[in-house]
């Protein structure tokens, strides 16, 4: 007797691949947010630092 219905396996494949794709996007987004936070922080440090040094000299 067979327990695994391979037709069903094929049918579920689509939704499983979508879930995989969505979460890949989500994990990528998390990485991007972290990098973006760093980018904004560094940008602020550099621009503000430049502004202050212009004021002083």
């Amino acid at each position: 007797m067979r327990y695994v219905d391979h037709d069903l396996v094929v049918k579920r494949m689509g939704s499983r691949k979508i879930v995989n794709f969505l979460f890949k996007g989500l994990f990528m987004l998390a990485t991007t947010i972290a990098l973006l936070a760093l980018a904004i922080l560094l940008y602020r440090i550099i621009t503000q630092g430049a502004e202050i040094s212009r004021g002083n000299f």
Binding site: Y3, H6, V9, V10, M13, R16, K17
Partner: protein, 272 residues
């Protein structure tokens, strides 16, 4: 199951010859494979029949492992891999863009060189495949686990410790758990990539006996560096050298009366 219907028709037409003309599970046509610039498989043509044990032998680096990993497309995990040619699994090209690897791999199980159970309980290891493919019913899972463990000839050894971590048992037992894990999704083909190279002689013997058992229900392709093993357990043997198939024939023929000088040299231990 559209892929199987043409085969069924064939079966009805030639019922008497069925014994002689076994159906192909894997038909490889002009397969080439490169790792970056390295040409690892060259113009491979192989016709692998169902319900047989097909052994792939050859010296290290001959491409035998690469070939078996191409059959379930695991080789593509290496980022620089490029392939050309066709591999037809049950008459469907596995490189087709609309053939999902995940689908192929539910039909084609794999057992690796080193036992690689998941760091989970024995039960969860075997139930992993059915679970990801949507089976949630505990009773059915129980039955699958028992059937698979029996199929891998390890039920009696682990039936009282199904909830123990799979790494708490011996290497040979772990390898049979991995076989049970592959059986649990009821595959059509089982690929074995040097499954006994990390095991002691007794465990090796058990796996070899098991392969003989499994042959009744599954088609088995086994890569081995051990020529005696190939001679003992396989029906057909392919000899690979430098990424080419030198000779492919019945195992008896390969080991008693090889037609190529290089095959003879290899099986008589002159190199490799």
């Amino acid at each position: 199951m559209t892929t199987i219907s043409p085969i069924k028709i064939k079966k009805e037409i030639q019922p008497k010859e069925q014994h002689d003309i076994k159906k192909s599970v894997y038909l490889t046509k002009q397969l080439n494979l490169w790792y970056g610039d390295k040409h690892a498989l060259k113009n491979i043509d192989l016709d692998i029949k169902e319900h047989e044990v097909t052994a792939i032998i050859g010296p290290s680096g001959c491409g035998k492992s690469t070939y078996i990993k191409t059959l379930n497309r695991m080789v593509e995990l290496v980022p620089t891999v490029k392939t050309s040619g066709e591999i037809l699994y049950r008459e469907r090209n596995i490189f087709d863009s609309n053939y999902a690897v995940e689908e192929l791999r539910t039909k084609v199980g794999m057992v690796f060189q080193k036992p690689n159970p998941f760091p989970k309980s024995i039960y969860d290891n075997v139930a992993y495949g059915p679970r990801i493919h949507g089976i949630k019913n505990k009773k059915i899972l129980d039955e699958i686990v028992e059937k698979s463990l029996r199929g891998a000839a390890i039920w009696d050894e682990v039936k009282d410790r199904l909830n123990e971590n799979a790494y708490s048992i011996s290497g040979g037992q772990q390898q049979r758990i991995c076989i049970a894990r592959a059986l649990a999704i009821e595959p059509d083909v089982i690929l074995m990539d040097e499954p006994t190279s990390a095991l002691d002689p007794i465990s090796t013997l058990k796996i070899e006996e098991l392969v003989q058992e499994l042959k009744k229900d599954y088609s088995i392709i086994i890569v081995t560096h051990n020529m005696q093993q190939a001679a003992r357990i396989s029906d057909k043997t392919a000899f690979f050298l430098n990424g080419e198939v030198i000779e492919y024939d019945d195992t008896d023929v390969i080991f008693s009366n090889p037609s190529d000088k290089r095959t003879e040299d290899y099986i008589s231990g002159r190199f490799g």
